[in-house]
Symmetry: C2
Subunit: 277 residues, 2 copies
């Protein structure tokens, strides 16, 4: 039996191994400055942090440690969102309640210290984020550990931080909503057949066709995200080829990163529930 930490790492590895995933790095497609092997090293690096979560250490500490480990490669931010999504799920698995309610319990138990650690994780790596909402400058995540006093002054827990980000950030939305898309993804992967990475790639495309990817909105704009959603649907309908969509998104540097994060989360849940590789 693999430990929860090993399954979390494996989920990240299987996610990036799944192909085709239009717009994202996978084992058949990479960017000159962001390579498959850097995602592999990133995933290996997260494991120590996931082990802390599996040992009952605070979520914030575990997450920051995972991101520090992830950053030990030259590609920059490879799996920040996926790690953020999976960390509370590892804690829920440790509690024996890897369910929407169990994951919500973990989220609701987070503290101001967890929020401080979360911000500190941004010291390790550059993450593409939006400008903070008005009046929230002190809480700009790009301030990293410098935001500590603002967090403590306002008594904001990590759950509070996620609540404030949920409108624009797809991983935060999972955190505060009981991880609905993550658990649906786990079921879709478990119900599929054939190699796990083929199933994950199919589910990626279905997720992409269902909602505009929030990371594409952040990285480009809503129009681009809606276009990607509609073209993913066209691939499902057989009116556009997945290769054509992939090549175009890579050309325009459009990376549906949140959708990939959710696939990683779904893979973790499915592995914990017995999915065989």
């Amino acid at each position: 039996m693999r430990t929860a930490a090993a399954n979390a790492e494996l989920a990240l590895l299987l996610e990036v191994s799944s192909t085709p995933k239009p717009g994202n790095v996978d084992r058949h497609r990479e960017y000159p400055d962001l390579r498959f092997e850097q995602f592999v090293a990133g995933a290996v690096g997260t494991r120590c942090g996931f082990e802390l979560a599996a040992d009952g250490e605070p979520i914030g500490v575990a997450f920051e440690r995972a991101i520090e480990g992830m950053s030990q490669q030259r590609g920059g931010n490879t799996q920040f969102g996926a790690t953020l999504l999976v960390t509370p799920l590892v804690a829920a698995a440790r509690n024996g309640t890897l369910t929407p309610d169990g994951a919500t319990d973990v989220v609701e138990s987070t503290t101001v210290d967890d929020a401080v650690s979360f911000y500190r994780a941004f010291d390790h790596v550059d993450v593409a984020v939006d400008e903070p909402p008005e009046g929230m400058d002190g809480l700009d995540v790009r301030r990293g550990s410098d935001a500590e006093s603002a967090l403590r002054d306002r008594h904001l827990t990590l759950a509070d931080v996620m609540e404030r980000s949920a409108e624009r950030d797809g991983v935060a939305r999972e955190w505060v909503g009981g991880f609905p898309r993550t658990f649906e993804t786990a079921e879709a992967i478990a119900e599929g057949s054939g190699p796990v990475t083929d199933r994950a790639a199919s589910v990626f495309l279905a997720l992409l066709a269902a909602e505009p990817d929030p990371f594409v909105v952040t990285q480009h704009d809503r129009e681009a995200a809606v276009e990607v959603r509609d073209r993913a649907q066209a691939v499902l309908d057989g009116t556009e080829s997945v290769e054509e969509l992939g090549a175009d998104l890579v050309e325009r540097e459009i990376n549906p990163g949140t959708t990939a994060d959710i696939v990683a989360g779904g893979l973790f849940v499915a592995l914990e529930r017995g999915l065989e590789v």
Copy 2:
């Protein structure tokens, strides 16, 4: 800084990610019953064993634990040889002497208990091996843990077992000879440029052209292994395409596995010496 155990796991992952590697599974080529994702899960599974080696536990115990973890996937034997090659190197790294002499010290310190654990590892997975030499039936590795009394009666350490296998087994030959090809491979990878997996694939081809792969001798015969060596040289000379060679070897199920093991070992040494991904 990644731990030695993390670097060992990463070495296995980078090895299977390196492409093209004619005849072996890589991230662009797999068999229906032996898939890329199974090597990924196999590598993740080895880490607990490598952690034991890094903590100073006996080599045999660490190796058996790594193989038990590796076996938690449906592809069967994915990285038995690579794990056998890397385990003593992790111990040497722990001792601060990741050199031919340091690795030899680790090998020479092995005990009869290590040999028993090594045999027990064969209980976890089917490994393609030759018939044992005449008069050695009691020591057929396929007997797994049943060979314990034969090992104890003859007072054979794991180094003794490797000595007896060195003529036919390329990993055993590394063990008893100070890991010459492994350290050469590490240097070649470190001296290369570009993505690590491209460098590893180049070195794989050079190793393949230099000597008949011992695993191909075991799996098929010496003639096949010599043919593969000569055709790898033809690829280097530009008179055969690497894709053509790869397709033919896959078709005939010829897998130069020992050469891949040595690349994994070389990647581990290079990573420990500071190779960046």
